[in-house]
């Protein structure tokens, strides 16, 4: 199964890379070109004396190039993929050069190593000591954080817009010192409140209370279910053993990539990939963090389907997951999607999820029969029973949504809560079309 040009362009880190990649999708740029089931490769004559060696792992869409670019994928990776789509007849050489086989085998070894490392004996005493030390640090950090939260409430949040950056940064750093990076991120989010927008007070309180709930929950861990306990620990920043997770049985399904979002988090790039299982009807989040300018381990392209076994992190609402096995891209077996029938049904679902996990982040959902409608100067989505929810003002692809709808109801993948939803894709003429 080959990617479309649109999907390849969706991988580009920016507009300049798109254009540069397009320019390199020319046969004359590539001295060698080859492809087999596992990889796509080519040598591109750049400005240097030696040609750049560009390769793509086709099984999980990963790139490697010998060029000095800090962008991933670089223009050569994009150009090579585009050329392969435009002129597959030029990729006739199946003989894998050493530089490609080396990389592919290293990637396989790395995967195997991840599994085998779990076989190593664990020094349980040392592990327990480390855990206790961390628990103490986190507890102390949480106490400090609660005092800080109470100060805010005591003095009133009206003073928040005037706070300097270091007010937030200092507490964020204190949480890092306390080995609670999850809490540090939540503090940072508080500081990033758009204080110039109407209604900031309510949004600020939402985030402050989520932070408070996590800190309170941590102090009552023994009272909650094991699954919720895991959610609390993970939200604070305790990591789960990925190797251990991979030993568990997952859900084998055809997964549709509903959408993705990347944000800069300090020196890292945070990438959220939202998936939907066609048979299991489950939503999943593949979260990746990688240093800026470093290759991403896995490139998922919105609108594509892939067969994979996903293991979900233990949670009161299983959602975050990792890919245990992936067998490549596929096409949809069926274009029937059973999303929520109307806004009330979705609100009931939201209530259920909130009951299970009160501080959960926004999750994607698929809802049916939604028509865009303009009321005064705002756009809403109207269901078949006449219920309405607002389209988020942050939504950047309104015109595409309207063009696809023409006012008629659509099945839409959305992310948000209560009265504010961001569309991330629609089913149009039996095809899922990402709105990105």
């Amino acid at each position: 199964m080959q990617h479309s040009e649109e999907q390849i362009y969706a991988l580009a880190p920016d507009e300049a890379s798109k254009k540069a990649g397009k320019g390199l999708a020319s046969p004359s740029k590539w001295i060698t070109r080859g492809i087999n089931e596992q990889a796509l490769w080519g040598e591109c004559q750049g400005s240097g004396s030696k040609p750049y060696q560009t390769q793509v792992d086709l099984s999980s869409i990963a790139f490697k190039c010998s060029c000095p670019s800090r962008k991933f994928p670089c223009k050569h990776g994009l150009g090579l993929m585009l050329l392969n789509v435009q002129r597959p007849d030029l990729f006739t050489d199946p003989t894998v050069p050493a530089w490609v086989s080396d990389w592919i085998s290293k990637r396989s070894e790395k995967e195997e190593k991840k599994v085998t490392t779990s076989d190593k004996p664990i020094d349980e005493t040392a592990q327990t000591k480390r855990h206790e030390a961390r628990t103490q640090k986190v507890s102390a950090g949480i106490q400090e954080l609660q005092i800080w939260i109470k100060d805010i409430i005591r003095n009133g949040i009206l003073a928040m817009p005037e706070k300097e950056d270091n007010y937030w940064d200092n507490m964020g750093r204190r949480m890092i010192d306390a080995q609670a990076p999850g809490l540090a991120a939540m503090v940072k989010t508080l500081g990033e409140t758009k204080f110039w927008e109407d209604g900031w007070q309510s949004k600020f309180m939402d985030n402050l209370l989520r932070l408070f709930m996590v800190t309170e929950s941590y102090q009552n861990l023994e009272l909650v279910s094991p699954e919720l306990r895991q959610d609390i620990l993970r939200t604070i920043g305790f990591t789960s053993s990925l190797e251990e997770l991979k030993t568990q049985e997952g859900i084998k399904d055809t997964w549709l990539v509903l959408g993705k979002e990347t944000n800069a988090v300090g020196a890292l790039t945070k990438e959220q990939n939202w998936l939907f299982g066609l048979q299991s009807q489950k939503y999943a989040l593949i979260l990746q963090f990688y240093p800026k300018g470093q290759p991403v381990e896995l490139s998922l392209i919105p609108g594509t389907y892939f067969n994979a076994e996903l293991v979900f992190f233990p949670s009161a609402v299983p959602y975050r997951s990792l890919i245990k096995n992936q067998t490549g891209l596929t096409t949809a077996l069926s274009n029937e999607f059973n999303g929520f029938a109307d806004w009330r049904e979705l609100a009931m679902h939201e209530t259920k999820v909130t009951g299970l996990l009160p501080f959960h982040n926004d999750m994607p959902v698929v809802a049916q029969h939604l028509s865009p409608i303009k009321i005064q100067q705002e756009w809403w989505l109207k269901d078949q029973k006449g219920y309405l929810c607002k389209i988020s003002p942050a939504f950047k692809h309104l015109w595409k949504l309207l063009a696809l709808s023409g006012g008629d109801p659509l099945t839409i993948a959305i992310i948000g809560k209560e009265n504010n939803y961001l569309p991330i894709g629609v089913w149009h003429e039996n095809t899922y079309k990402p709105l990105s």
């Binding site: 005591r154 003095n155 609100a347 008629d408």
Partner: protein, 494 residues
């Protein structure tokens, strides 16, 4: 006060200050709030934060979407034309990413001619392009169907769809550029009607609009325009200049007649003896008249040659006037054929041959052009009245002697070049890769036939150091031509 509003208000003021009222606690929350309030272990802030957390989850869990059954969703009407095929849509996607206007225009022309529509996915991008490029608007309206019309009502930048306006409405209430565009269209089809429209509104027009309207009348000029144009004696400045410019291009105008009168006094044929009186020959003489109607100099004719070196003041007056006199005048004045007129000018008044050529172009005397084709001088004005094949032939005559001029005019042509012409022009262009960059090829891709794809390998500069620059340009040009080919094939492959 709703409980969540109470929480936010209290948080805004801070707990040090008295609360601004009491919450209307829902029944489900009363017991929980009481339980928290009754705790002896919790301080004031903890109590508030716990109650607020409960209220937050209560709000989220109890969210009720707004219901309005009386809202009618207006939908786009069904289309009555088919959508463009998959290969055409794939080509359009690439053209949009390429951001190439000529290829977009080509795609839209083909789509419109084939009575097909742009698919919904790409409509916003196409509507945006047409918002920025007026030349695309008519085609965009034709190719967007009912979906495009429906969509355009929501975005003020796409107001060019607008309601259908009658010609009269546009003329009386339209934007200046819409009025000028309408006038030009009408002028081509019915010159007198166009002039009458201008005459009707002339007193109400301001100076800049008057100027634009007169410019629109430059095409399809008629002798019937004379009466009105010659009545505009009170106009001043640029409007007056444009009025005079128009009059000088209408053969029967009084000013052209004055020019003819001036030239008829100055130019004449005379028989002279040659070769020691053994033969006679006819010579074209010209002599500046002793008395000159000074109104000639008020009609835009410069009296002094100034920087026009090579001309005396008198010669310069001749040069200017000749170009505003229809060539047929010379046939009558000298009582010879047009071909002979040109021969006499070449032999005895060579300085004015260029001016005569200008008159040929200005008064659309196409049949005179062959009389100039043996000349070494390049008369670019002829191109305006030539058909494309003749333009190419004419330009090729000068491609080696005047490559810069030829390339300049070749790139201004409006029809796609023939293969043979393109091969020669591109050969020249490829020799100067720093001057003719990929951006220029991109802007002019409409002129370049896709057949030259096979010719690209034979192009390029002779200087070795320029070859890498050309190679880059060539790759880009090749991509553009492949894309153009895809666009063309997309609408021919059924």
């Amino acid at each position: 006060m709703k409980v969540w509003d109470y929480i936010v208000n209290s948080a805004m003021l801070g707990l040090e200050k008295p609360a601004s009222g009491k919450p209307d606690l829902p029944e489900e929350l009363t017991a929980v709030f009481d339980l928290i309030n009754g705790s002896m272990e919790l301080d004031r802030e903890s109590k508030f934060l716990q109650q607020a957390s409960v209220a937050y989850n209560y709000r989220k869990s109890g969210f009720q979407p707004l219901q309005k059954n009386d809202l009618k969703v207006f939908t786009a009407e069904n289309e009555n034309m088919p959508y463009a095929g998959a290969s055409a849509i794939a080509a359009l996607s690439k053209v949009i990413i390429e951001d190439n206007l000529p290829l977009l225009i080509l795609w839209m022309q083909l789509c419109a001619v084939n009575n097909q529509l742009v698919v919904a996915d790409l409509l916003p991008e196409v509507l945006d392009k047409a918002a920025n490029h007026t030349s695309l608007r008519r085609m965009t309206i034709d190719c967007s169907g009912n979906r495009g019309k429906w969509l355009s009502q929501f975005n003020p930048e796409w107001d060019y769809f607008g309601p259908e306006q009658s010609e009269e409405e546009i003329w009386l209430t339209g934007k200046p550029e819409e009025r000028v565009s309408l006038l030009k269209t009408i002028r081509l089809a019915d010159a007198d009607r166009a002039r009458e429209m201008v005459m009707q509104t002339w007193p109400q027009e301001n100076a800049s609009q008057k100027l634009e309207l007169l410019k629109a009348l430059r095409q399809n000029k008629q002798s019937t325009d004379l009466f009105w144009l010659e009545s505009l004696t009170s106009e001043k400045g640029k409007v007056k200049d444009e009025m005079q410019n128009l009059l000088r291009q209408i053969p029967n105008s009084s000013i052209v007649q004055k020019y003819e009168g001036f030239l008829s006094e100055a130019f004449f044929l005379k028989k002279e003896k040659a070769l020691l009186g053994m033969v006679t020959k006819t010579v074209l003489h010209f002599k500046f008249p002793e008395e000159v109607d000074q109104t000639i100099y008020q009609s835009g004719i410069e009296k002094l040659a100034k920087g026009n070196s090579g001309f005396s003041d008198e010669e310069y007056t001749f040069y200017q006037i000749i170009q505003f006199v229809p060539p047929v005048f010379w046939e009558k004045q000298l009582a010879v054929s047009g071909e002979q007129v040109v021969e006499y000018f070449v032999k005895y008044a060579e300085k004015f041959v260029g001016s005569l050529a200008l008159a040929v172009a200005r008064f659309h005397q196409k049949h005179w052009i062959p009389y100039f084709l043996d000349h070494k001088t390049f008369y670019p004005d002829f191109l305006e009245i030539m058909i494309p094949t003749d333009q190419e032939k004419y330009l090729l005559k000068f491609i080696d002697s005047l490559p810069n001029e030829v390339l300049q005019y070749a790139l201004q042509m409006s029809q796609e070049w023939s293969y043979a012409f393109a091969a020669k022009v591109l050969k020249k262009m490829s020799g100067e890769p720093y001057r003719f960059t990929l951006a220029i090829y991109g802007k002019k891709i409409g002129l370049i036939p896709v057949e030259v794809l096979d010719e690209l390998e034979n192009l390029g500069p002779e200087k070795l150091d320029l070859i890498p620059v050309w190679e880059n340009t060539k790759d880009g040009l090749q991509n553009l031509l492949i894309l153009k080919k895809e666009v063309l094939q997309a609408f021919t492959d059924k």
